[in-house]
């Protein structure tokens, strides 16, 4: 894996998994995402920098608590696969966030962002604090800013 970060969260795996397994909720915990809307298997991420990402949700495996997706646009990657796995841990839950990609130019960007994202996931699950840039869906529709 080109990117592999993990964190132990002081919460039951089921409580972490309910967040991770909901693709539309990623912007709530991934810093720098404004929204994460899902239509079928397509997820559209709007970033705080004014850009967007298109992703395909590949698999949500409740038995293994494993979520898999890939970036499909707007830029071209020869290969991408992201995987988030939630497992039991004496401290609560262990979350491993992995990504593989080609070409490698974005590796460092994704590595740092994934590190922040895991901290954000803990913030949301343990403290109920949402990411700094997330805009709740209701307010976006009211303001017409989607």
């Amino acid at each position: 894996m080109d990117v592999c970060r993990e964190i132990v969260i002081e919460a039951a795996p089921a409580d972490v998994w309910v967040v991770v397994s909901a693709p539309e909720r990623q912007a709530e915990w991934f810093p720098g995402m404004v929204s994460s809307a899902v239509d079928g298997s397509t997820r559209t991420i709007v970033t705080a920098a004014g850009g967007f990402l298109l992703e395909e949700v590949l698999d949500i495996d409740h038995a293994r608590r494993r979520f898999e997706y890939r970036i499909t646009g707007p830029f071209r990657l020869d290969h991408h696969r992201g995987r988030i796995t939630v497992s039991d841990d004496p401290g609560g839950s262990r979350v491993v966030y992995e990504q593989e990609l080609e070409p490698k130019a974005l590796t460092y960007v994704l590595d740092g962002a994934v590190g922040d994202a895991l901290e954000g996931l803990r913030d949301l699950v343990v403290n109920g604090r949402t990411s700094r840039s997330w805009v709740p869906p209701d307010s976006t529709s009211e303001e017409g800013t989607t």
Partner: protein, 516 residues
């Protein structure tokens, strides 16, 4: 009486960009005038030859190993001490306008304060100074990126958002597309009018800030032009300033391919591997461009475009200095002009920069025009100095002691002043580790007219290789003396000196957060 410092930097500018340094292409009368009235440094070296580490050194007065920014993409720690912070805390007004790059540029999730400021338009960090600056307004190398300049361009010249060269290609690699008349990489015709181009914008933002200051304010203004760093896309209206067809090839460009490649082979393996397109050692260079394919006309066109940009910088600086003089501030104004690192611009058959410690990238323009009221006699200093000496110089100008955390020393104001000091040696380091596994590590000392570079073991070197250049006998650095038995003692002495002077490496290097 107030004290004022105008710190002017360019990006990736060669020593010979200026007329006062012997340059014969760009007309730079403003900077030449500053040099004639002040101190011109003949051998100023950066402590690293890419932007982020070098700029961190300028801001902190620290060697790379001490500020920790060992490679592009490593953010300067948020709590790093800075000379701007010292001045701010001493009651100075502090501003930075243009390219900062203390934090990574490629930041889609806005993880870094500078990028959040650039996107939101904020000029401070949520009401607080950022890195010691009261006000910051950022520009990069074009309309793209997370900078105030892009927001301004979108608001005032939306039609030119697409006029600049696109820095990244569709796979987010650095763009390799060629343009201009010759297909030279990163050369592009830009229809953005001059008044909307970032060089004038940077001067305008600084002028706006200065206009709001009180007459008796002490101030430190960092005017940071993004040019002549690639892409080379100056306003099309200015292309008639220098015709590439009229230019001679640079002295450092070996026209004969056999000679060129033999000279590269006499250097470390990473030189030839970069030339052949077999090694990416610096993400800022186009990922899919092969230097061996560069034609002489492409060298000349890049040269012309860079010098057009140099002229625009000189004129923008002149405009700002005129406004400062009109305010009656000139007599107490110190002006320091330099750049963060050099550019090959055809030397050795290469473009851009990377792990190459030769004059193309290391010998920098540096001019200090002391305040006329200080009564400093104009001079030329030939002894080596470093960008690490800038922050201590600003401290001395401000009447502050140089703090222990700074590694440099105030710049000498004459050759006699330099001679009176300890043996002048300057350090330059390179470390790069890329996701594809390529690793290059080098350390260099410049001392006694020699440049000695030791390669550490990596993916290109086994740790026994290096470079030894005699600056007087071989100004173009064609004859590597590292393995010359007659220079073995000298080489070993210089390496020993390097070991004495180099700070220890951090126990754990800071994490790379972005390719650039």
């Amino acid at each position: 009486m107030a004290t004022r410092i105008l710190f002017v930097t360019t990006d990736q500018q060669r020593f010979d960009a200026l007329g006062c340094n012997g340059g014969r292409i760009a007309r730079t009368p403003v900077i030449d005038g500053l040099a004639a009235a002040g101190v011109r440094y003949e051998r100023a070296h950066p402590q690293n030859v890419v932007c982020m580490p070098s700029r961190a050194t300028m801001l902190t007065g620290q060697h790379v190993r001490n500020h920790g920014v060992w490679m592009n993409g490593v953010p300067l720690p948020a709590d790093a001490p800075t000379v701007a912070g010292l001045l701010h805390d001493s009651g100075w007004r502090t501003g930075l306008f243009g390219k900062a790059h203390f934090e990574p540029f490629l930041d889609p999730f806005l993880r870094f304060p500078q990028n959040r400021m650039g996107v939101s338009g904020a000029t401070d960090d949520e009401g607080r100074p950022h890195r010691g600056f009261d006000r910051m307004e950022f520009a990069g190398h074009g309309s793209a990126g997370l900078f105030h300049y892009g927001g301004w361009l979108r608001e005032h010249h939306r039609e030119h958002m697409g006029s600049f060269y696109p820095a990244l290609d569709g796979t987010l690699d650095v763009n390799s597309a060629g343009g201009g008349d010759t297909g030279a990489p990163q050369v592009h015709r830009n229809e953005t009018p001059r008044e909307a181009y970032h060089t004038d914008w940077v001067a305008d933002r600084a002028l706006g800030w200065l206009a709001g200051l009180d007459d008796d304010d002490d101030w430190f203004c960092w005017l940071s032009f993004p040019d002549p760093h690639h892409p080379w896309d100056p306003p099309a209206s200015e292309l008639n300033r220098v015709s590439w067809r009229d230019l001679d090839l640079p002295a450092g460009y070996p026209s004969d391919v056999t000679e060129r490649e033999a000279a590269l082979d006499a250097k470390g393996a990473h030189w030839r591997r970069w030339y052949d397109g077999d090694l990416v050692s610096n993400f800022e260079a186009p990922a899919h461009w092969v230097p061996a394919t560069m034609t002489p006309d492409q060298v000349r066109e890049v040269d012309a475009m860079a010098h057009i940009e140099n002229e625009l910088i000189d004129e923008a600086l002149g405009r700002l200095l005129a406004a400062v003089a009109a305010r009656g501030w000139d007599d107490d104004l110190h002006v320091v002009f330099t750049t963060d690192h050099g550019e090959f611009q055809g030397d050795h058959g290469l473009l851009f920069k990377g792990p190459f410690h030769v004059d193309s990238l290391m010998r920098l323009p540096l001019v200090w025009r002391p305040a006329p009221s200080a009564g400093v006699t104009p001079s030329v200093v030939a002894d080596p100095v470093g960008l690490v000496d800038l922050a201590p110089t600003f401290c001395r100008i401000a009447g502050l002691g140089v703090p222990e955390w700074m590694d440099g020393a105030p710049l000498p104001i004459s050759s006699d002043d330099a001679m009176a000091r300890s043996r002048p040696a300057v350090l330059t380091e390179w470390d790069s580790v890329h996701p594809d596994g390529a690793e290059v590590h080098m350390q260099t000392v410049t001392l006694d007219g020699m440049v000695c570079t030791r390669y550490e073991a990596g993916t290109c070197h086994d740790g026994t290789e290096g470079e030894l250049w005699d600056l007087a006998a071989d100004p173009l650095q064609r004859t590597n003396l590292w393995d010359d038995p007659d220079r073995r003692v000298l080489r070993d002495d210089l390496v020993a000196e390097l070991d004495v002077l180099l700070p220890d490496r951090p126990f754990e290097p800071l994490r790379v957060e972005s390719p650039v």
